[in-house]
Symmetry: C2
Subunit: 436 residues, 2 copies
């Protein structure tokens, strides 16, 4: 007879647990949040900022798919999570972007006491109204966990009606699909690709699987993950620099049209003072790339690279290259980081297009960590990723705005958007569908 092992304790635990927590570590967030957090903590400690959930896929009625009680339970659990000793030691001892002690001891001491602030939630017209009010240092840290929680609760809801066999087939297909992508990417010599998929992931475990698939499958070409926890646990590079929230808050606080026009460059100056080096990556599209480039001071052309984040990659990349050339710079010394709506086809086409003309890196998000299209045995549209973001909407009570190169990605009060458009103009902005 063969000894059949069954762990009774595990079985009992499984059927008695109250909650399967989605956020189990404060490091389960994007690295750029920590980089920005240190800057906010050093330079803008007293600023208040409100972050708000925005579901750009309005056809999906989130509050009908996800139970608000479950959502509260997950948000509440995330608020109980603290930095562990091991995590603090790793942040202090690890090198990031080749630099030791990128985080100052005082900042880490403050972070050790950090907890996520309260939230405000309601339901309206089938959507959640989810706001985070408070100090910018606190509310900024909700962006990624809030998105990860909602996306994973949505996946769980989608899979609730599925039997064990259907789930098995679902994940088998998703793995097979992911591996096809890995095999195609393996063909590109000298590729640099990172995981940027935390916020839109199907689930934490699935993101971890995808990260390990890239690690195993494309080796050196896999240059890191934006997820700090996964970077720590898998000895990977943590990657990411900064986001739209910095120019958005700077502009909101500036109040005058002139101040708004200068906000983006002021961010770069502050960033440079704090970090510099490889971390000098320009995110040009907050208020439109064309306006950004037209008024950019000379020194912006000295920065390491650009991250065009809302134009199609080839068009957006060509625009930056042209500008570098106009400024007398050689694009081959520069890097373009693509991170908007990438999938394997886009990555391959973009790579082939720019090969030899500029250095490139790809920050692969939703289609890496949440591509379950056609994977369910029975059609299940709920497993399709949606375009969900968590944006700063106010700073010290003043409205915050993002224009983007794609008007569909604009956020903010319509009248404020009008005002910003008068300041920046709308040249080269073009509507594109936003899937993810």
């Amino acid at each position: 007879m063969v000894f059949r092992v069954l762990d009774i304790a595990k079985r009992v635990h499984d059927h008695t647990w109250k909650l399967d927590p989605i956020i189990r570590s404060l490091l389960d967030t994007d690295f750029y949040k920590l980089m920005m957090l240190q800057m906010i903590w050093k330079m803008h400690r007293d600023v208040d900022a409100t972050f708000t959930l925005i579901n750009r896929t309005t056809s999906i009625r989130l509050a009908e798919e996800i139970d608000i009680g479950e959502l509260r339970a997950q948000l509440d659990h995330a608020r109980t999570v603290r930095l562990t000793k091991k995590e603090a030691i790793w942040l202090a001892g690890n090198s990031f972007y080749g630099r030791k002690q990128i985080f100052e001891p005082d900042f880490l001491a403050w972070l050790a006491e950090f907890r996520l602030p309260d939230y405000e939630i309601a339901q309206k017209d089938g959507q959640f109204e989810l706001h985070f009010h408070g100090k910018w240092t606190d509310t900024t840290m909700w962006e990624i966990p809030a998105l990860a929680i909602i996306n994973e609760l949505r996946s769980r809801a989608a899979m609730r009606g599925m039997g064990p066999f259907e789930l098995d087939v679902l994940y088998a297909r998703a793995k097979a699909k992911m591996w096809e992508k890995v095999e195609r990417l393996k063909q590109l010599p000298g590729l640099s690709i990172s995981d940027f998929g935390t916020r839109r992931r199907h689930s934490f475990l699935w993101q971890r699987w995808c990260v390990q698939a890239l690690q195993e499958g494309i080796g050196e070409a896999f240059t890191g993950t934006s997820n700090v926890l996964l970077a720590m646990d898998n000895d990977l590079e943590a990657v990411g620099t900064n986001a739209h929230e910095l120019p958005m808050v700077y502009a909101a606080l500036a109040e005058t049209d002139e101040g708004i026009a200068r906000a983006n460059y002021k961010v770069l100056e502050d960033w440079n003072r704090l970090y510099g080096g490889n971390l000098k990556i320009v995110l040009p599209d907050t208020f439109g790339t064309a306006a950004f480039l037209r008024h950019a001071p000379d020194w912006v052309a000295d920065w390491t690279g650009f991250r065009p984040d809302s134009a199609p990659p080839i068009e957006g990349g060509e625009r930056i290259i042209r500008w570098w050339q106009e400024q007398g710079r050689d694009p081959r010394d520069k890097i373009l980081i693509f991170s908007d709506g990438l999938d394997v086809d886009t990555i391959i086409n973009t790579y082939r297009h720019f090969e030899g003309r500029v250095r490139m890196a790809f920050g692969w998000g939703t289609n890496l960590t949440n591509d379950f299209v056609d994977c369910a045995p029975r059609r299940n549209d709920q497993l399709r990723a949606i375009s969900l973001v968590c944006k700063v909407t106010e700073a010290n009570g003043l409205p915050a705005v993002k224009l983007s190169d794609n008007p569909r990605k604009a956020t903010g009060d319509p009248r404020e958007i009008e005002r910003y458009l008068r300041i920046f103009g709308s040249e080269e902005r073009a509507e594109k569908p936003v899937y993810v």
Copy 2:
């Protein structure tokens, strides 16, 4: 903190076990073996028969892929397996082919004491020489477990160098591939398909997964499994009737040319006396279908159906239909069971070809339970199924022969094959590649 469950006892068991047994039940065999066994036990209890392993894929040097020590350990373990009470009760109490008590109490009492007989093994030119000598009642029962053991040991050897991640991708792809097949088969209304894949399976667990995939995926169209254990455990029909070994032994024992020519019909007479009903399925190709049909007594046309097993399905099926029509029978009252080298394309094409003209059932073997082509992350030809059989080679010391409709599937001493060809002729026999 989240409670992490680890079963220490399981971990310890896993790293201390001596053997992961492949054959854990005497019912882990094909149903037709039990049907034939009862007939052999009733009518030919004193006949000696030798079964021999034959690797038709001679390019694969089995003895270099599989360690003879491991093979012995598995064969030895299989010899320790006995019918359990639960199994005996199920065989007695279950209905097979709509008939209660198909197995007689005396036979089941004998089977309760059954153990697999000894084996004789050697290595030569990179192949195993594996023989089972003894009573036909005993040696016949080695066919399926011997093949299942060797095929699974070969899979294990193929996967030995693979890491946990590679294995994960391998099975994910195999599952995804299998599910594509399920979805294609689902399109055919009124399909009848059974699992015939025990002997060539990748592993027991994989066969079980495939069977459950069919159960879940095509529902009513999945009419059963030849594997008795899987039928019992999953409340499926156990299917299968008889095999070439019956006419082969009958012919060997007959000795005279006339006796050899009549052997096949004699088998059918005995079979009919014992079983009848839905179990009246003719296997016509042991010594060539053309000869079989030409000399068949009238009553053969009254049988329920035919299982053409070595001609291409459409050609083989048309041949039988033509014969039924010549005999004045309506093929729509008859059934054709296809079981040779099927895959989804063959099944669909055959189904479409005969739709409405004859009833059909498909016994799906190797390509159901051992299709790992292109599933490994790194190319791994060792995972490709081979054409391995275990055939009766002698009866009471006399040579046994199979001609088949495909000369490449012929077995036996070349001089004996010559003799049989003189008796039966070789019309309509045509060489086809044998993959599985």
